[in-house]
Amino acid sequence: MRPRTVVRTLSELCVTTGTLLVLFVVYVLYWTGVRADSAMDEELGRLQERWSSGSVGAAAAPGEPEPAPEQQPGQQPEDAPPDPGAPPGRPGAPSAPAQPGAPTRTQPRAGTPGQAPPAGTDLRAGRAFAVMYVPRFGAGWAKPVLEGTGTELLKRGLGHYERTARPGAPGNFAVAGHRRTYGDPFKDLDELRAGDAVVINDGTTWFTYRVDGRPYRTRPDDTGVIDPVPAASGYRTPGRYLTLTTCEPEWGHSHRLIVWAHLDAASPVAQGRPGALSA
């Protein structure tokens, strides 16, 4: 009788532990994504509401994949010959980290429209202020960018490193996001290649950044990658750059994966979605 009770209790404990673990895996892999997706949709909705009601005249709705109006072919010179680096999507493309000539060349043109961030784009900690689009991640991929990189905040969207530049501004606009869990926003970050577009809408302006080189793997404490001119990026002159960071490997935290891009074009939201999103 006694050993029987012990064995039964032990097996019940084992079954309970197993069930707990399975439930936890379901929570991490599935439920965090469900929660994050709805939180991000909420942020997008709130942002759009603020843009449409506030001083920021944003006609373009975040998230909806409407066909882009083709009204300004002359405005989008990046459609013609992309940077000599590599056409998007070629896996074996030479991995020259960046063409030092390219960013400098584009600066004067890119700088003019979205120079100083208008009052509408005030960055309050924890609040969404922009929407990021990455065509490589899928046509419907649109995520809110929030101010700050706290753990709680990154469950509701991408996080902007507080001490880095604003979108489109001189310096380095650095953004962090989850590789896995919480909606997997940067799951495919390692698939970005030179020439891929990363588009930011801050309510007043569409900023089109172009990726340079291949994703760069570094140590978790390598804060130099979000410097105004990141040493490892291949950029040599001050410019308007973008840095994306996430964890590497996909399910680990031993390293970080970094992607750099330079500002290629900027156009007011009134002119509709940029060419990079309609392609």
Binding site: W31, T149, G150, L154, E162, A176, P220, T223, H253
Partner: protein, 58 residues
Amino acid sequence: MYGWIWRHLPGNAWVRALTSLVLVLAVVYVLFQYVFPWAEPLLPFNDVTVDNGMAVNQ
């Protein structure tokens, strides 16, 4: 353990089964709402920034 709970539930078998189901759902709810959110940050998936010092000030 489960046998003990079953024996201490009131009512006939159907009522007991229903009560057990409610109990299981309640446990799952507590786990998803409170226990797992607490345990999840102990896993490495949250480390996506290059300056963990700053990530604290949320």
